[in-house]
Symmetry: C2
Subunit: 408 residues, 2 copies
């Protein structure tokens, strides 16, 4: 048999894609008095809509490392959709796929001292998707559930999802960046996000955000929701901007107005990096310049998307950027990363390829001090997050209402 094959989407547990292998583990916390026969556990999925393609029964084993408690790990489980479920779908058609919550159940039956014990336990709510394009939507659901309820198993949560306080939500968002991209969001960045989501109410009081506003309805004038937009940025960072982001060189979330306010009094050639608000997964830079008549001028480039960034890393783009106007090539207009860090001091050690053939650009390796990192407390702590990441992990006796005991 094969070995590792981690669960689906290592960064996003509790989301299972049909046809893709996942792993789950059950541990029996109560110590059974001398169960000398093999304790079989059976996993089943949901009620109607999906089923487990692969072998779903295994025998519990003593965990070698810990104190002899029994556990089973199911590997290579795979979900498939049931076809022809007499007409209607399992869940009411009002919810989107990523709002439908499912659960994995584990059953075991054994006899101790004349008692037949029937254990059943089921997982936290799971989201099932059929394509990775549904992953952001699924993850939005997991976050919302996690943030707003303590119920271990409320599969109808999204029929009437509660609102979230912006304070709580912003912590979750910062945590996403922290856990996935190595650096959370600071107050200013969160303020911009809050205003984007709620208008300028944020400052007044602790406003509430609806589920729909967060991840279902489109941002006015755009063709994507707030979360889709934010997640596209997270993905861009993960794939192409990790060092630049974790060094805190990307201000990222700044409105155009704020950007101008920040830049206008700065040295010409001062620039900052921000994420595109009009396109998914784009990053751009804006620099300030002074006209001959002394007037302040702002310039930006078309956002760079993953396509362009996979051809040339962002740091190199910054190093090599040139403006050519009216047939004259000017020198690189990017001089100081806001507020006033000389470009090469900030990006020097992030440059990758040598400057493109015959290019200017100083690639000396000035080492910049990594700025101090600090993170707020999130609703889901990084420890919890990591644990979830490890496996979908359940402890049988922790959900005691699920344990039925009957007498022989």
């Amino acid at each position: 048999e094969k070995q590792p094959c981690m669960p689906t989407h290592p960064q996003k547990p509790l989301i299972i894609k049909t046809g893709v292998q996942f792993t789950t583990k059950v541990r029996l916390l109560v110590k059974l008095p001398e169960v000398d026969y093999q304790l079989k556990v059976k996993t089943t999925f949901d009620n109607r809509q999906f089923f487990i393609l692969t072998n779903n029964t295994k025998v519990m084993d003593i965990e070698d490392y810990s104190n002899g408690c029994l556990s089973v790990e199911f590997r290579h489980l795979q979900l498939k959709e049931k076809k022809y479920i007499n007409g209607t779908k399992g869940n009411e058609g009002l919810l989107s796929v990523t709002e439908e919550l499912h659960s994995l159940s584990f059953e075991a039956c054994f006899t101790v001292q004349g008692l037949t014990i029937d254990l059943e336990i089921c997982s936290l709510p799971l989201v099932v998707i059929s394509n990775v394009s549904q992953l952001p939507g699924g993850w939005a659901s997991v976050m919302w559930y996690n943030l707003l309820t303590d119920e271990p198993k409320n599969l109808t949560f999204f029929t009437n999802p509660p609102r979230a306080n912006w304070t709580q939500l912003s912590e979750v968002l910062s945590w996403q960046f922290s856990a996935q991209a190595g650096r959370g969001l600071d107050k200013e960045q969160l303020t911009m996000l809050g205003e984007k989501l709620l208008g300028h109410h944020v400052s007044c009081s602790d406003y509430q955000v609806s589920w729909s506003r967060f991840s279902k309805e489109n941002i006015p004038g755009k063709s994507f929701s707030f979360w889709m937009w934010l997640d596209s940025i997270l993905e861009l960072i993960k794939k192409h901007l990790l060092p630049v982001w974790s060094e805190n060189y990307i201000m990222g979330f700044v409105s155009k107005e704020t950007e101008r306010i920040l830049l206008k009094d700065k040295e010409p050639g001062t620039f900052l990096l921000r994420f595109s608000e009009s396109h998914l997964g784009g990053i751009t830079f804006t620099w300030v310049d002074r006209e001959d008549n002394g007037e302040v001028k702002f310039n930006s480039v078309e956002p760079y998307t993953k396509n362009r960034l996979s051809a040339l890393p962002f740091a190199d783009i910054i190093r090599d950027y040139k403006v050519i106007s009216e047939g004259v090539v000017k020198e690189n207009p990017l001089k100081f990363l806001y507020p006033n860090i000389p470009k090469d001091e900030a990006f020097g050690r992030l440059y990758n390829s040598p400057p493109s053939k015959g290019e200017t650009g100083n690639s000396s390796s000035v080492i910049s001090t990594p700025p101090p990192s600090q993170s707020p407390e999130p609703p889901m702590t990084p420890g919890e997050f990591n644990m979830l990441n490890e496996h979908l992990c359940f402890d049988i006796d922790s959900v005691s209402t699920q344990t039925h005991t009957k007498y022989t």
Copy 2:
């Protein structure tokens, strides 16, 4: 049932990837006297190594358009490898996967006028692969087989594959470019290829090329074979250079020496486009320049690969190319496409995006006359090629030795 889902790799018939759907069709050319019952056909694959996952039995139908002859089209067929075939693999382990030839068989049995007729027919040799990365190798096999034998079914062809005359082979190669990229190869291009493959013997006589030299052994000093290299170029053209190639603006196959001979007496700024010989799927340009002291100088860029070309189309790269040396930006050094076509006249109408922000570059749309196209006769004509492309198509009575008749 679903509809189109063409066979695997539309451009490369006779290659089937496991787990990917393909289509095949059988037609009964003899007109049967009044067969009033349903004529069932069964498809089977090979003997040992693979099997057809999906439904493999269908009833023949009268083709609506033609003259009432019977045919079946199998759709959504899928191949899967048989596991545990008692120790050894089906074919001797000496051959690589792409050299193992397989066949699809069709069987039908019916009774006419007291005779039980047992029809069996089988396909041309097929190559089975498990990953698209094996496609070039598989296609090499198909070409070699097609070029060097007329036997309809010699599954052991590659245990001792014959050599090919360079004259024949070069026609096949040109045909690949013609069929897949819209323009074949001219004499000069083929000469360069011949020399690459055989050293400088080509000119002397009609040299023979071994199968191994063509697609198995690496080019000296490289980590890929001749065909892998050539096919990587074909793929690059198909994906990123189609218009430029079909307009004949890519000389492509020129040795560095020839390149210098061609360019040295030309106007400074004359450039030509050639494919990288050191890396798979790369294209570069070389231009001639004159130093202050009058000495001729040649410059080239690092090859552009699919990654870079998917970020910016090649024509735009040529338009926007600038050299920056010692802090001074010079104007675009590319002036005339060899021999003497003004750059914008050649590429003008192929420019895509507007020149990058504040860029020079004349994007006026000068229409260039498409150069006359001429193609040599190939071993496999384009008509034949297209027919193969349509479906794997067999006519039952065309392989009469496969028809067994027995009496009741």
